[in-house]
């Protein structure tokens, strides 16, 4: 019999699994990680001893609840950790587990593939010691390590202050926090942010804590370049009035998050441009139904809403799935989840106003700025292709290989789109959508295929 399958064991996938099990369905839960939890509630290895409070701070209760849920469900699920889904098509997924490839047919699938950092490159970003904000957090949470001895955090988004705070709290030497958003933007965003007062309060707490502990927090501060011989040794940043240099051996930066949409794409979902995410996202209704009848979408993989929303969206999508295969579902619960998701959506709009996208990034990018770190494609290479008359991102990719490397545009796609739009004088929504291709992550040679 074909299975009901969930891809991703983060907040959305775990709550989806729990909801299906509660109604008597035994889903297959596929997860690339060894232990469930996703990225934000990622679990440390089993022999580590730090408490949940140490690891997750204010979110400890939620993290523990999610981990307990997946642990308690194990026997009622076909749970497959360490399993990469590398291809998807109508009715089937191709997986990789311990070097063996297999095909899994599904009747319905909930795609909960999460997000990675949205990166706008700066000169020197490929140097050892330069990491994404998410990477810096994983080093600490998952491995008990700091990315360096003297660390600077830069960019924008809620993760910026959170990770800086977590590092300082863990005893790392945080040299500075460079927030590219001006204070005025954050003041203007307050009405939207007040829709989630406790989340707003946490953000203010982190920033206040940093300042109270003598860590310089600069607003309207743009990371300009990272310098060093073979590793990070210093960086330059500037604000409205002047440029500054900081000696440091590590820097973590990002501008918010971007959704992992490759599998939704390969499954044939329709995409629409989402101005808030500044990205193409798979279409979904308020319950999580995609444009394809058997495919449901939940969590940050379908649009950045954060972990709380992901838990709700996972449950809501599972209820929709159950309803569609003939189960009776509690209608009040479905309505309540959708109302809560709407409230978080308003907060998300406020966040976007507070942490403004740096519109001038593409204009300011020098021709020799490396955009694609896999294929080493520079801004000038992309501009040259645009000047030859190409403006559709997949055509540009075909000509200069930007987004064609091992990461398939996960790190460079957003930046490449900005450069193409700027150079062709089009809106970033009018240059097409970078298509996904299987395998969505590299596969090893000598792959064994299960019969």
């Amino acid at each position: 019999m074909k299975s009901v399958v969930i891809i991703g064991a983060g907040p959305a996938g775990i709550r989806a699994a729990q909801t299906l099990v509660a109604h008597g369905v035994r889903p297959v839960l596929l997860d690339e990680a060894a232990r469930g939890g996703g990225q934000i509630y990622r679990r440390q290895p089993a022999n580590f001893k730090r408490s949940a409070i140490k690891l997750y701070g204010f979110e400890a209760r939620k993290a523990k609840a999610l981990h307990q849920t997946i642990d308690a469900l194990r026997e009622q699920l076909d749970y497959r950790p360490d399993t990469l889904v590398w291809n998807a098509e109508a009715g089937a997924l191709d997986t990789l587990h311990e070097g063996r490839a297999a095909r899994l047919e599904f009747s319905r699938v909930i795609v909960a593939t999460g997000a990675t950092d949205r990166i706008l490159p700066v000169p020197g970003w490929t140097l050892p010691g330069a990491y994404s904000l998410g990477a810096a957090q994983i080093a600490l949470k998952f491995q008990g390590c700091s990315i360096g001895e003297r660390v600077v955090f830069a960019g924008s988004g809620p993760l910026l202050y959170l990770v800086a705070y977590q590092y300082a709290k863990a005893g790392a030497n945080v040299i500075a926090v460079l927030d590219s958003s001006p204070f005025s933007a954050q003041a203007r965003a307050l009405p939207g942010l007040l829709s989630q007062p406790s989340t707003l309060a946490k953000g203010i707490y982190y920033r206040t804590w940093l300042t109270a502990h003598g860590i310089p927090v600069h607003q309207g501060a743009t990371l300009k370049r990272i310098d060093g011989q073979h590793r990070v040794q210093s960086l330059n940043w500037r604000n409205a009035t002047s440029e500054h240099r900081i000696e440091c051996d590590a820097v973590a930066f990002a501008h918010g998050l971007r959704s992992e949409t490759q599998l939704a794409d390969l499954l044939g979902c329709e995409f629409t441009w989402n101005p808030l995410n500044r990205a193409w996202l798979p279409q979904r209704d308020s319950a999580g139904r995609s444009s394809i009848a058997e495919v449901y979408l939940a969590g940050d993989g379908a649009g950045i809403m954060g972990a709380d929303a992901a838990e709700m969206a996972g449950e809501r999508a599972a209820l929709a799935l159950l309803e569609d295969i003939g189960y009776l579902i509690p209608p009040q619960r479905a309505t309540r989840l959708e109302q809560s998701l709407q409230t978080i959506g308003r907060f998300r709009q406020g966040l976007e106003r507070a942490f403004l996208f740096p519109e001038s990034w593409a204009t300011d990018a020098a021709d020799d700025l490396m955009i694609c770190r896999c294929e080493e494609v520079r801004a000038g290479d992309i501009r040259q292709v645009v000047r030859e008359g190409h403006w559709e991102i997949n055509r540009v990719k075909a000509h200069c290989r930007v987004g064609m490397g091992r990461c398939q545009g996960r790190m460079c796609g957003a930046a490449a789109a900005e450069i193409i739009a700027c150079e062709s004088q089009r809106a970033v929504s009018d240059i097409g959508r970078l298509r996904a291709q299987a395998p969505i992550k590299p596969l090893p040679f000598g792959l064994e295929v299960e019969p």
């Binding site: 022999n47 010691g129 994404s132 080093a139 491995q143 990315i147 590793r231 770190r373």
Partner: protein
Amino acid sequence: MALLKRLAEGDRLALDFTLDGVPARGLLGDTLLTAVLTCSEHLRGSDFSAEPRAGFCLMGACQDCWVRLGDGRRVRACSTLLEAGQHISREPGRAL
């Protein structure tokens, strides 16, 4: 010189491995990335300029932390746990 700095969880079983043939030591629960970058400064050379790289995303997305193991397998260092006796080698990359 190390790139990463251990801040917590130092009280773990030590595991010996080799890095490019040289004896090295990590801890049980380390990823290959942690084990290598707490005793050295990079993981691989890039494919077009042989510049040193040390990973970037740590969540299996950027594909910039691949290393080779003694049995010939190429693995992502950020998502592979260290085992005692492993022979890890770093590929120097290629320059155009």
